[in-house]
């Protein structure tokens, strides 16, 4: 019934109104009901929200400045190991900077990268995918061949070369990663649009006189959002991983930025002397990515009606 009401609304171009608000609330409630059943997803969401809070309130939480070098405190081990101190709970790096504070500030960069990359690739991917799936024909063929070309390269290699050419740095790394992730959104949107385009409600809207833009964005797109949300979540974690990998290779954020991948690159030469300079930044990446992937799995289960009751 829910979808029928929505289809009818969409067909006659009706938005808002109390009835629609109620169905929307009911759908959200249904979604939350299924999402909540997945304990892993809820745990992932909690961890992710915690990381977001840490990133927002970094200046209040971090015990030290991320760039302050404490003289005489080089490679101090974590507090629970002999020689550790409560001043530096997770120890210090080779130039006497507090690792915990750098990790806390690093959360800002990782979340920022994820957010910017997903926004860029979703917006461009959805628009291109809508055009390809809606108009088909030559436009579609050209777009899909272009996407095939991007997908023919290993994503990290293409991003690496792009950044090398644009110049190393976090900003260029984000653009490069957004470009290599965007074909996935194009393909997904195109497939969803092609599946929806033949449905009755689209035809009804067309008969009612809706133009192409309205049909694409207002009638069809809202019914294709579920797979896009899931892909967006998974791309968020991919973006964080790729940005860290580029940072690790020296092509992402540049030192002394406390970006996690860059911190790992700086720590490489000390791996056999000071395990903590290597262990904690990587752990931060792993936990963040894991939390987001847990949420992504939960979203997929909650949004995919095929799996719901199996």
């Amino acid at each position: 019934m829910v979808t029928n009401a929505k289809e009818a609304d969409a067909a006659i171009g009706l938005e808002g109104g109390p009835a629609v608000d109620a169905t929307r609330r009911a759908m959200l409630y249904e979604f939350w009901y299924y999402f909540r059943q997945n304990r892993g997803a809820v745990l992932g969401l909690c961890i992710f929200l915690l990381i977001v809070l840490v990133a927002i309130f970094a200046p209040l939480i971090a015990p030290h400045s991320p760039s302050a070098q404490v003289r005489g405190s080089f490679l101090v081990p974590p507090v629970w190991q002999a020689g550790g101190s409560w001043d530096f709970i997770l120890g210090t790096d080779a130039v006497g900077r507090d690792i915990l504070s750098r990790l806390i500030y690093g959360a800002r960069f990782s979340l920022f990268v994820g957010l910017v990359v997903v926004t860029l690739s979703v917006i461009s991917g959805v628009i291109i995918g809508l055009i390809a799936g809606y108009f088909r024909g030559t436009v579609d063929t050209i777009i899909m061949r272009l996407m095939d070309i991007i997908l023919a390269f290993p994503s990290l290699l293409l991003a690496l070369v792009l950044v090398a050419v644009l110049g190393p740095g976090l900003f260029n790394a984000m653009i490069a990663i957004a470009l290599v992730l965007q074909p996935h959104f194009v393909r997904l949107t195109r497939a969803a649009v092609m599946a929806e385009k033949g449905r009755d409600y689209v035809m009804a809207a067309k008969v009612a006189g809706a133009g192409n833009i309205r049909l694409m964005f207002k009638t069809i797109l809202p019914n294709c959002t579920a797979p896009l949300i899931v892909q967006g979540t998974l791309s968020f974690s991919t973006a964080i991983l790729e940005a860290a990998a580029l940072g690790f290779l020296g092509m992402g954020a540049q030192p002394p930025t406390p970006e996690w991948g860059t911190m790992l690159a700086e720590a490489r030469e000390f791996i056999l002397r000071a395990w903590w300079v290597v262990t904690f930044p990587g752990l931060a990446i792993l936990i963040t990515v894991l939390a987001i992937n847990l949420v992504g799995d939960g979203l997929r289960d909650a949004l995919d009606p095929k799996l719901k009751r199996s």
């Binding site: 892993g40 061949r145 272009l146 095939d148 070309i149 023919a152 390269f153 290993p154 994503s155 990290l156 290699l157 293409l158 690496l160 070369v161 792009l162 090398a164 050419v165 974690s237 991983l241 860290a244 990998a245 690790f248 290779l249 020296g250 092509m251 991948g261 790992l264 490489r268 791996i271 056999l272 395990w275 290597v278 262990t279 930044p281 990587g282 752990l283 990446i285 792993l286 990515v289 894991l290 992937n293 847990l294 799995d297 199996s310």
Partner: protein
């Protein structure tokens, strides 16, 4: 089948031309010219600059340059490295076996462990075994492999001293490459301990490179198995009174493996991307490290040729997977 193959090839050719245009264009669309880009911050006199432009052919019209480049590729000439002056294709062919050896070991490891894990998880759906397998798979899937490599080095090379940190074989051994695969060459050389040394060098990079494919394959096998186990023919097989092992192993697994084969094929791109990080960390002399080194040396002739060759390999493997898939599953041929 032949028409199916032709159709796939017809899609592949424009894609390959597009790939060659991208590989060709990326240093030319930027502000400044290729020679200035390669020089970077080094100072160069205008005369030397003009001389290099002429020598490398950058002073000709762009489409002449492209057609020359394309013509070169079709005859196997990918240009020469700017740093070593050796042909790009020669360098690639020398280094490729190392990457191939590492990738093959990684894919074998991930299939041998991933497929059984996925089957067990699906058969025991919801048990603690299923949950822990899926938990591990999720961790593997989320792993920053460059960090994972460093952790393994700390443990196995640093603390336990079991494995070497880098390279393909100990410097004590030297023999001419026959196949390019160190495992085979070391056996052929007949030198005592050479094979052991090659294996000990290979273990950690293989584990690192296999991590993500293993996780993906385990997840994919599990969901494919779950789908198949709910099918009518599996129920019939059960109802006939066949032993569970036979039902799972014979009736279910065969059909579940079809999507898994595709997944394995798709891992080639993942492996080559992973090789970039893995080879850099373990100083493994393969094409991943070669590409990274060339990017840093601004050897754009190598970057350009390498991009094209790597994309070519991925496209070729995808074609093979498509054809295999068409052979296993006739429905998709049309």
């Amino acid at each position: 089948m032949f028409r199916f193959l032709l159709r796939r090839l017809a899609v592949l050719i424009p894609t390959f031309i597009g790939v060659s245009i991208i590989a060709f264009a990326f240093i030319r669309v930027l502000p400044g010219d290729p020679v200035a880009l390669m020089a970077g911050e080094r100072v160069m006199s205008p005369e030397r600059h003009a001389e290099l432009m002429r020598e490398l052919g950058f002073d000709r019209p762009i489409w002449t340059q492209y057609l020359d480049y394309l013509g070169g590729i079709l005859t196997g000439d990918f240009g020469n490295s700017i740093v070593t002056r050796r042909p790009v294709l020669d360098e690639f062919l020398t280094l490729f076996p190392a990457t191939m050896e590492l990738s093959l070991c990684a894919i074998i490891l991930s299939v041998v462990i991933g497929v059984p894990l996925g089957i067990v998880a699906a058969v025991r759906r919801g048990s603690w075994l299923d949950q822990s397998v899926m938990g591990f798979a999720l961790v593997g899937y989320s792993m920053p492999i460059f960090w994972w490599a460093l952790l393994l080095i700390i443990l196995f090379s640093g603390i336990l001293q079991w494995t070497p940190v880098s390279g393909r074989i100990s410097l004590m051994y030297f023999f001419p490459p026959v196949t390019g695969f160190m495992l085979i060459d070391s056996l052929l050389s007949g030198q005592e301990g050479a094979f052991r040394s090659a294996v000990s060098h290979l273990v950690l990079p293989t584990i690192v490179l296999a991590t993500i494919p293993l996780a993906v394959i385990a997840r994919q096998t599990r969901s494919a198995m779950l789908e198949v186990l709910g099918e009518d023919y599996v129920r019939t097989a059960r109802a006939k009174g066949l032993p569970p092992r036979r039902v799972v192993g014979l009736h279910a697994l065969r059909n579940a493996l079809i999507p898994v084969v595709t997944t394995i094929g798709l891992q080639v791109g993942v492996l080559l991307a992973g090789a970039i990080l893995t080879e850099t960390i373990f100083s493994w002399p393969g094409i991943g490290k070669w590409m990274v080194d060339s990017v840093f040396k601004r050897d754009y002739a190598v970057v350009q040729g390498g991009l094209l060759l790597i994309a070519g390999i991925i496209m070729l493997v995808n074609l093979i997977v498509d054809v295999l898939y068409g052979l296993i599953n006739p429905r998709i041929r049309h």
